[in-house]
Symmetry: C2
Subunit: 181 residues, 2 copies
């Protein structure tokens, strides 16, 4: 079997689903970053984990507030989503700069991004450094969505392929039946 080396090893597992993560500073100002490196960890209790670089302003905010919100973005705000990954909240308010709207969350101090489709509010229950990132484990306090999110074929997530290349899901949804074994 002929195979070719993947130069940047981590790209073997791409595409990855792209999200916007919000966190809050000590003055009550919510910041936004783009995040791909997220996984579910447990169904009961509902836990998710996200990897954030210590170089990011968000890292300091999560360390201090012990909370974050996963804002599920979609392709209608793809440009804004990418911009959140390239600009730093240390210098300015990304909501204002990018024309995104904030709204209070249900259970946390951090705000949600109204332009997003679904939200998972998380309290940090653990964190650990792995390589060049810190892995934050969040216990989901509340999860809710706009109606469109729950309708199949209406929600078009952002899927990160590599670099600045993105795509979304195919319109075709299939129900698979296991082969007869």
């Amino acid at each position: 079997m002929k195979t070719i080396e993947i130069k940047d090893f981590i790209h073997a597992v791409y595409p990855m689903h792209t999200y916007l993560l919000t966190s809050i500073d000590e003055n009550g100002k919510t910041n936004i970053i783009t995040i791909d490196w997220l996984t579910v960890l447990s169904r009961n209790p509902p836990l998710v984990g996200v990897a954030v670089s210590p170089k990011r302003y968000t890292h300091k905010l999560i360390m201090s507030s012990k909370e974050f919100i996963i804002n599920v973005t979609d392709i209608s705000i793809a440009d804004e989503t990418l911009a959140c990954g390239t600009l730093s909240g240390r210098n300015f308010d990304k909501f204002k700069k990018l024309g995104l709207k904030k709204s209070p969350s249900r259970t946390l101090k951090t705000h949600i991004i109204k332009n997003c489709m679904a939200f998972a509010e998380c309290k940090v229950i653990d964190f650990k450094k792995y390589g060049d990132h810190t892995f934050f484990v969040g216990d989901i306090q509340a999860a809710y969505a706009k109606e469109e999110f729950l309708i199949k074929n209406k929600f078009k997530p952002i899927l990160h392929l590599k670099g600045s290349l993105f795509t979304t899901i195919s319109g075709k949804i299939t129900k698979f039946k296991p082969p007869h074994v």
Copy 2:
């Protein structure tokens, strides 16, 4: 803003990219499971993390061998991929039952699934229980792919929507430019 509660909190972050994970038992037999709960953790060193239920046979195998391989599956073997998630390797050989072919890996004892598109061979450097799953952290020893994987529009990953509903990526790939801010 009107929102609806997401009953099963973890579905807020779906769809997730679906993979096949292989691991090896003490007799040298490689087993397969389906896995959605995977994330990159670090670029340098290249680390990934996967959540596996202690109820799964694979859990015992990774605990003992301290290695696993991420086999990047695609929609051409979607039925076989789902079947690997519903059958247990305790009882029989999934390769034989599902007509999948194995091949030696480059750096580990565990075999790869030849029918897959790309491979990341991982040595376990840490593990921790979070809720109802164990999170295994793997250091990628080698990552390689079939030529089709590296050609955009040829590789069609399996994306898990919910339950037995799957889809793949749209054929359209976009290069996003951040808005002028």
